[in-house]
């Protein structure tokens, strides 16, 4: 059974931004059946990629640390959905999901984490520094908040290009307390730049819960200080994320300026690979695990009769097999040649 299509993309663009402010807004923009299955597959692909990274880490294949995003897939996938190929996306060290949502090849991503020459950055960047310029993935930044002024600069380029491009900046709740965050929001608003500030509020900055570091948990409140259009959504509901982001993207394309989108979510794992995350109350973790974005969306697609459990399991199994095969190929790839590649790329 299909849902009624209420408002094609075109009419959503004309909808006042205030509509998105209302909250979940499932009806803000239409998604086709194929779109919906695509969202599910994309989230499953990220989940299986991250689970494979975990296994590969235990096998000693991942060099340095890695920051996994299981539980936050709906944000990457839902927010990326309304973007065009020529838009700019910047993200954080917990950035595998953002890259995969924009179509980065698993094998090149694994190879980067494994320090191999076939990595997206030829083994020079690693887990915290994935970039794929061809896909508008301008970079994952290892310093909290550092990608935000860069995203503002990409927004400036977009504005001056005059082709309706936008710049999307993903960052976490921790970044909301760093100076670069405040400078970025202020500048983007004063210059009316087409920037989407997508805040992934997973409640923990490294090992500390938000209530110890920030005077409130609803980070959408930060936007008011900059008179910025803002919306808070359930970041574990992929369609809610899409419905909030799509009108904001359309608004930005039309010169309406930036929007702050707080996505309330949770990471299933610790901050980084050495963190067992024992500091989180069990009941909090259990409650969020029940709200796993893949479980929620599977139920939704079943309700819509777009997917059976068997089909959903098959999608995950296929993604798992693809991740395993990609990791295997990546692990067999050659190391960078230390005599040839080591110094060459510092300057042109």
């Amino acid at each position: 059974m299909k849902t009624a299509r209420r408002g094609a993309t075109g009419s959503a663009r004309r909808a006042p931004a205030a509509k998105a402010r209302g909250g979940i807004g499932h009806n803000a923009a239409a998604l086709s059946d194929a779109d919906r299955l695509g969202l599910f597959k994309s989230m499953a692909r990220i989940r299986e990629f991250e689970d494979q990274v975990h296994r590969s880490y235990l096998e000693g294949l991942v060099h340095g640390t890695t920051h996994l995003c299981q539980g936050q897939e709906a944000v990457s996938v839902g927010a990326a959905k309304p973007l065009r190929e020529d838009d700019f996306v910047s993200y954080t060290y917990r950035g595998h999901g953002h890259c995969l949502a924009r179509g980065m090849e698993m094998e090149n991503a694994f190879a980067e984490l494994f320090g191999r020459s076939t990595g997206v950055c030829q083994g020079l960047g690693g887990s915290m520094h994935l970039q794929d310029i061809e896909r508008g993935l301008i970079g994952s930044f290892g310093i909290v908040g550092a990608g935000m002024p860069v995203a503002v600069g990409a927004g400036l380029t977009a504005q001056l290009n005059g082709r309706g491009q936008v710049s999307m900046s993903f960052f976490g709740d921790g970044a909301c307390n760093i100076g670069a965050f405040h400078e970025s929001l202020n500048i983007a608003q004063v210059w009316k730049l087409p920037v989407l500030f997508v805040c992934e509020n997973n409640l923990y900055g490294e090992f500390t819960r938000i209530n110890h570091t920030t005077p409130f948990e609803d980070l959408v409140q930060r936007a008011a200080g900059y008179a910025m259009n803002a919306v808070a959504v359930d970041g574990n509901d992929v369609e809610a994320v899409y419905a909030a982001v799509e009108p904001a993207v359309a608004r930005a394309r039309e010169g309406g300026g930036p929007t702050f989108i707080e996505c309330k979510t949770y990471r299933h794992r610790g901050h980084s690979r050495t963190d067992p995350a024992k500091y989180r109350p069990q009941e909090e973790l259990d409650a969020w695990l029940k709200r796993d974005p893949l479980i929620l969306y599977r139920a939704r697609l079943k309700e819509l009769k777009l997917l059976t459990d068997r089909e959903a399991d098959q999608i995950s199994a296929d993604a798992r097999a693809a991740a395993q095969a990609a990791a295997q190929r990546a692990a067999a790839a050659p190391w960078p040649d230390k005599d040839q590649d080591f110094m060459a790329k510092v300057y042109v």
């Binding site: 030829q122 083994g123 002024p149 860069v150 600069g153 670069a180 500048i187 790329k345 042109v348």
Partner: protein, 324 residues
């Protein structure tokens, strides 16, 4: 034609912006006010507010925006009102601009210029008078220009605006009113090459930025006493043209490095070390450094002037090196 260092910089921006529509200026007071030191005066009127952008007082935001704009197709020129403010933007300079090409596997560069004035001479005090080039020199991935002459102010800035990598372009604020010859069609030497400003036999004085003029004054005074000092102007510290420096020191056998940055861990120390490695067999005397005292820059004109090398202290040191 004769013009000033300030006007040469303004002319370079004007000509470069005319030639390349991707060049965009951003910074505090660069537009309506025309720049704290007047370098960007008139450019807003000529190129419009889309290309000459007044920014809030947000150094990290300004430099970061320049990084992002450079990564995505613009060629931004960000201005810091004083190089002393670079600490506020240092993450963007050292962790982003410097590293983006390398850590992302060479997919993309950051073709931006970060302009900032440095130096003593205006009683600016401890937080508005520093010479922080060592901070930049230390970081792979950043080009560093420090023009001392009117001609270089123009030509090095034009060259910086054609490079594929980030350039920190440090101007000396005491030089803004200095006059000199400018031929916009002729550059003294290519980008990245040092230049001999005065030939000599007995000692080499290596300098850059304002110290070039103090070294030349010193050489003039020494000549009156029959001491022949050669003056090398580095022009850029990254690239650092050790070929020209070494060729000179190999001839004179003596080297003095003069810098307005602090002595300890400073640019002069790096240059001296490189001379030692390249020229040990030719050296008649230990390499000496003259640099700013290791104190915050004092305001009182008497103390401020005493805290950095002067033509007199350079000449005195060279006399010591040649034992005359």
């Amino acid at each position: 034609m004769e013009t000033t260092y300030r006007e040469a910089l303004r002319q370079a921006l004007d000509d470069a912006m005319t030639a390349d529509s991707a060049i965009t200026l951003l910074g505090e007071e660069v537009g309506r006010y025309g720049g704290a030191y007047g370098v960007t005066k008139g450019l807003l009127e000529k190129f419009g507010k889309e290309r000459v952008i007044d920014a809030p007082i947000s150094e990290a935001g300004i430099v970061g925006a320049a990084v992002g704009a450079a990564m995505t197709g613009l060629r931004p020129v960000a201005e810091l009102m004083y190089v002393d403010f670079i600490g506020l933007a240092m993450d963007q300079v050292a962790n982003q601009a410097a590293k983006i090409r390398y850590m992302f596997g060479g997919q993309i560069g950051v073709p931006m210029v970060l302009r900032a004035p440095c130096g003593t001479g205006r009683s600016g005090g401890a937080q508005h008078s520093q010479s922080l080039e060592a901070w930049i020199l230390h970081m792979p991935g950043l080009r560093l220009a420090m023009p001392g002459t009117v001609s270089d102010a123009y030509h090095l800035l034009r060259a910086a605006l054609r490079l594929p990598d980030p350039v920190v372009f440090i101007e000396h604020k005491a030089l803004y009113v200095r006059k000199g010859e400018l031929d916009t069609q002729r550059m003294d030497a290519p980008w990245g090459r040092a230049i001999m400003r005065r030939g000599g036999r007995d000692a080499t004085i290596v300098a850059y930025s304002r110290m070039v003029h103090r070294a030349l004054e010193a050489a003039e005074a020494l000549a009156a006493d029959g001491i022949s000092a050669e003056v090398i102007d580095l022009r850029t510290l990254n690239p650092l043209d050790m070929e020209t420096v070494s060729a000179s020191v190999a001839r004179t056998g003596r080297a003095l490095v003069a810098s307005e940055g602090h002595l300890t861990g400073g640019a002069a120390a790096e240059i001296a070390a490189q001379i030692q490695e390249a020229c040990f067999d030719w050296l008649e005397e230990p390499i000496l450094r003259l640099a700013a005292e290791d104190v915050p820059v004092p305001v009182s004109p008497a103390l401020e002037a005493a805290s950095v090398p002067t033509a007199e202290s350079i000449a005195r040191t060279v006399r010591r090196m040649v034992h005359r």
